[in-house]
Structure formats: C-alpha cells, structure tokens
C-alpha cells in the first residue's frame, strides 16, 4: 500500500537520511552524486522560475486572448442601439490618428453635435491638428452612414459656430426610409492592416471603385501605382519614419500613445497596441513576452516594419489631396472621403494602412523652421496645385487583422 507523501515523512527529520548523498553534513564528503543532484535541482528551479515569469507575461499582456475584453466590446455592440446613440456607437469605430479618438458627441432627439476633444492630440506629430480633424471627418462619415441605416437622414453642417473651434459638426436628423449600404456593413470589420500584403496587384479599376466623392467637395485622391513610383514612395516613407524617431519631441509624443500591457489597454481603451501591429501570431506572442518595449526599441521596430513590411509589400499608395490643407472644413471632408475609401476597401477584401509620416515631417519642418526636405520630395509624386493631407497604402491581406481598443460610448458622450 503506497504511503501518502502528505501524511507521512519518508525520512524523519530527527534521523539520518536514508541516502547519505541526499544531505551532506559537515562530516560527510561531498559526493559526485550530490553535486549532480544539486546542479539538476538548481537548473530545474531556474527553468521553472523562468517559465513562471513568462507565464505571468502571458497573463499580463493577454497573449491568450488578444483583442478581447471591455476595451474591444464597442466592436461588437455598435449595432445594438437603433437610435441616434447607436449611430454614435458606430462613429467611434472610425479611423483616427494614433487611435487618440479625439471626439466628443452631444446627442439630442433630433440632433447630434460632434466636438473635437482638445486634450486628445498627438502633439508635435500633428502641430496644426490636421490629422485630428481628418479623424473627426472619418467619425462623421460613420455617423452619417449609421444614421441612414437607422432611418434617420442627417443634414450635415460643418463648423456651425466659427467662435467655437471645437464644435466641428451638427447633424440634424429627419426620419426617412432606412438605406442599405455596404460601407455601413463594413464599419465593424474595418481595421488598419499593418501586416504584410500579398503579391497580388490591386488593379486600377479596383482602386477607382474605392472612391466615391458624392456630396464631398474639395478633396480627392491621387493614386501612386507605377512600380517605380511605389518603390520611390516607399523610400520616402522610410526616410520620414526615420526622421520622426530622430526628432526627440515627435518620438516622445508618439510613444505616449503606446499601450504596452493589457491593463493599460483595458484602462485607457485607446492608443497603439502590439495586437494591432499586424504581426504573425507567433511573432506577436514573442513581442508580448519580451519586457515592455522602451521608446527607442519601439521606434526602431516601427522603422524596421516600415522598411521591411509596410513599404516592401505595398501594392499602391493613395494620397488624399486638397487645395486648401489648412481649411478645417476641407480637412473634415477629406476625413469623410478617407473613411469611405477604407470602408469600401474593407467590403471588397482590400487592406489599407494609414501612413502619415511624410506630412507629419512636412508640418514639423514648417514649425521648427528647418529647410523643407520632405515637401519637395513628396510633391514629385503629386499633381500640381494640390497639397497632400493624408497617405495610405493598399494591398490584399495575408492574415486576419486585429481591432484596436475603443473607449466606451459613455466616455465620449457630453
């Protein structure tokens, strides 16, 4: 009958051990066996301790449940409310710079007001708040689509009060028949795809079908599709990324929005995450298991990804171009166009990644008074008389795209 290890001591502590090698007393010579045993135990202990540390990282960074938790619930809940509040639930899923979600909504019975949140900016990366307003335009487009799907026809008024710079739009809602729209259906599955794109080309006619400028004046898209131009544009993007990380202020302002742990993600429900970097499942796990990334390591990773993945596998670039890049209404309109393109691309299985480092460097050079280097280089790709506002790459995906965290509806309602 076997004895229980819990109820009996195999070797009473008051008696000498059964095997002299098990405990080496002061009068016992240290045997080879005891040394081997001690080394084995020590190595095993180190291995278990290491596994424990990594196991904790698995727990702490949500390796086993990426893209889940309360911070990701808005992606599942945006259809639930059939009124204006539900339309806002769709609006908060829009593309926006660094996932800052720079919006506040005021919802009444027949109106929805959209405000810029002046506290949610990316600082020196977007000194003129152009990207912020493009992001607000993206939210506006989702809002319009979601209102129409809810039998509410919105009349959109941009910048209703010139005295209030944060009040960017008012939607006046009139009951109407619900309209079906593929772009609306794509709202919940639209994500920025930072992963590698496959080798299939995106045909010119497919690119043309992504663009619908109906009701949108003052913004257009210019495609960069010739292989030589795509390659040259890639070089420019890599150079711009390198310049951003070399700029202490821009590097710091960008890193401020990086959420390294799952606790940070769930707590803030915003910002850039490892889950949304387009890494393969194995590489994503490895990245999460490593110690939290420093700013310099994160910067280097971004430049490497820009060089080796983003630009290397891009099939074409799109640039939203406008005549007046400083006009807030134009920026909002450009955002609506950008969101339309992204939603249409999503519904057609085409991936898209926003890549704005060139315009961020153009603005930075203007602010600091540095010689303009990126502006002239970028102009070589663009038609005359227009200015670039935002840039993106397109291609076909090679893997599933993970969502970014979103603040709950209650956090963005005034």
């Amino acid at each position: 009958m076997p004895r229980s290890v819990l109820t009996a001591d195999p070797v009473p502590p008051t008696l000498p051990p059964a095997d002299p090698s098990a405990v080496s007393g002061p009068h016992q010579p240290v045997s080879r066996r005891s040394i081997i045993r001690a080394l084995g135990l020590g190595a095993a202990t180190v291995l278990v301790a290491g596994t424990g540390l990594l196991g904790y990282r698995v727990y702490d960074t949500a390796v086993l449940k990426p893209g889940s938790g309360a911070a990701y619930d808005p992606w599942q809940q945006w259809r639930e409310d059939l009124g204006p509040l539900g339309a806002v639930a769709a609006a908060i899923l829009a593309a926006n710079p660094h996932n800052t979600q720079p919006w506040i909504f005021a919802v009444a019975v027949t109106t929805i007001d959209v405000y810029a949140d002046p506290t949610r900016t990316i600082g020196t990366i977007d000194p003129f708040l152009r990207e912020q307003h493009v992001g607000l335009g993206c939210a506006l487009e989702n809002l319009v689509l979601a209102c129409r799907a809810r039998s509410l026809e919105p009349d959109v008024e941009l910048l209703p009060d010139p005295r209030d710079e944060t009040w960017v739009a008012r939607l006046t809602l009139v009951p109407s028949a619900a309209t079906a729209d593929d772009r609306y259906e794509a709202i919940g599955s639209r994500h920025t795809d930072r992963g590698p794109y496959d080798t299939r080309e995106v045909l010119q006619e497919d690119l043309a079908q992504l663009v619908d400028t109906a009701e949108l004046t003052g913004a257009d898209v210019h495609w960069v599709t010739r292989p030589t131009d795509v390659a040259a544009m890639g070089e420019l993007l890599v150079d711009a990324a390198a310049a951003v990380i070399a700029d202490e202020d821009q590097s710091r302002d960008g890193f401020a929005w990086f959420r390294g742990s799952d606790d940070e993600v769930q707590l803030n429900a915003d910002g850039l995450t490892l889950d949304a970097q387009g890494l393969s499942p194995l590489l994503l796990s490895a990245a999460k298991l490593l110690p939290a990334s420093s700013r310099s390591a994160g910067d280097a990773f971004w430049v490497d990804q820009t060089r080796d993945v983003h630009t290397k596998t891009a099939k074409a670039y799109g640039v939203i171009v406008v005549a007046g890049p400083d006009d807030r209404a134009v920026q909002l309109t450009a955002g609506r166009l950008l969101q339309r393109i992204h939603l249409t691309a999503t519904s057609r299985g085409i991936s898209l990644q926003h890549m704005n480092q060139i315009t961020e460097r153009i603005d930075r050079e203007q602010v600091t008074g540095a010689p303009a280097s990126f502006g002239p280089r970028f102009a070589e790709f663009l038609p005359p008389e227009v200015a670039p506002l935002v840039t993106f790459r397109v291609g076909y995906p090679t893997q599933a795209v993970r969502p970014s965290p979103r603040r709950a509806l209650a956090a963005v309602i005034a």
Binding site: R3, L6, T7, P10, P13, Y56, L64
Partner: protein
Amino acid sequence: MTTAAPGRHRLVARLGVLGGGLGLVAGVIQASVGSRIPEWTGNKADPVPLGLLTIALSLLAIVMALWQRRSGPATAARGAAALALLVPGLLCFTTVGRLWFLPAALLLPAAAMAVDDWRGTAAAVGRNWSRCLLAALGAIELLMAAGATPLLMIVASVGGLALITAAWLPGPSRPTLVGLLVVGTVPFAVLAWTAIVPVLLLVVTAGIAAPLIPRSGPGESVVGHGDLLGVR
C-alpha cells in the same frame, strides 16, 4: 511536536477559516461589483475571473486550515498546510487589491504557525523539491488560464489541476501519472502553441516529471521512486 501544539493547531484553524471566509467575501465582491469600486479592488481589467480565482484559493485555505488539525504531526503534511495558507495569503494581493489586507493579516500568521518543525519542513521540501516544481508548473498554467479565452481557460485550468494532482497524488500508477502529465500539458500546448509558453511548459514538465514516473509496470507507487534526476 510540543504539548502546546494542539492548541496552536486550533488557533491556525480558526485564523485560516476566518481569513479564508473573509477572502471568500472579497472574491465575491470582486466578481460581482469589482469594476464599480476599483480603488478597493485593485482596478483590475478582468474582475470576474480574478474574483473566482480568489474564491477558489480562499476555499483551499479554509479546507487546509481545517485539515491540518486532523493531519497529525507529520512534517510534510504540516508544510503542505502552511503552503496552502501562504499561497492564497500572498497571491490574492494581486487579485482583489485592498480587499485582501484583512484576509492576509489572518492567513499569513496562520501559515507561519502551521509549521511545527521548521528544520524538518525544510528537509521535507528539499526531498520533494521536484514535486514542488511540478506543482508550481501547474500553478503557472492556472495563472495563464485566468487570462485566456473561454476554451483555453477550461483546457489550461484542467491541465493545471492535473499537474498539481500529478505532483501530490499518493502513489499513482505509471499510466495514471503519465495520463495526468499528458492531460496537464499536451492539449494546452497544441491549442495555444503560438503563445510559446504552453510549449515551453510541456518541455519543462517532461524534463522534471520524467524521473518521477515509475519504470516498472502499472500499479507501482511513485513514492519510493527517485526524486529529480532519479537521485535521492
């Protein structure tokens, strides 16, 4: 054991039951309203699973606090009881935040008082070190389960408990032990291989547990076989 020991064991039982009981309450609070009082519950992202984990560990502390009164003076048994009070006493600081202050103030002294013979306990732990490591691997798997999707949470929870059972089950047969080790590691490693650590857990477990497996036929006890690396 001294003549004062029975009285001390009764005190350990009372402290353990009271501390575990308060721990149960803390776990229920965390699982139910933890997100509404984050300043008290540690501001956790997943209060429900952490509350459930706290409840499970508190129950373990209560059971072992009661069990140690009847377990007699065996050093290993008292060491196991102390460990079962110590682990919840420390670990639950990370699961329910400030709500654990009072339970810990009761469980940690109980853990210290549960040990009759410190030197003997240390020797017993040393003799069973590979089992301690195997149980630790089970605990690591349980930790990973707490942060997993529902399917993986079930698989890893079963796996973690299987490893802990394999570590301390008195005299399991070879098929039983191998079965527990396989259930404890393989499904989790297969389903979550991209997370890397489940595969590492399998490899480390195999290395540590291999010497514990009886070499002869089924029915032979693990007790009496070699400790780590087959050397005792």
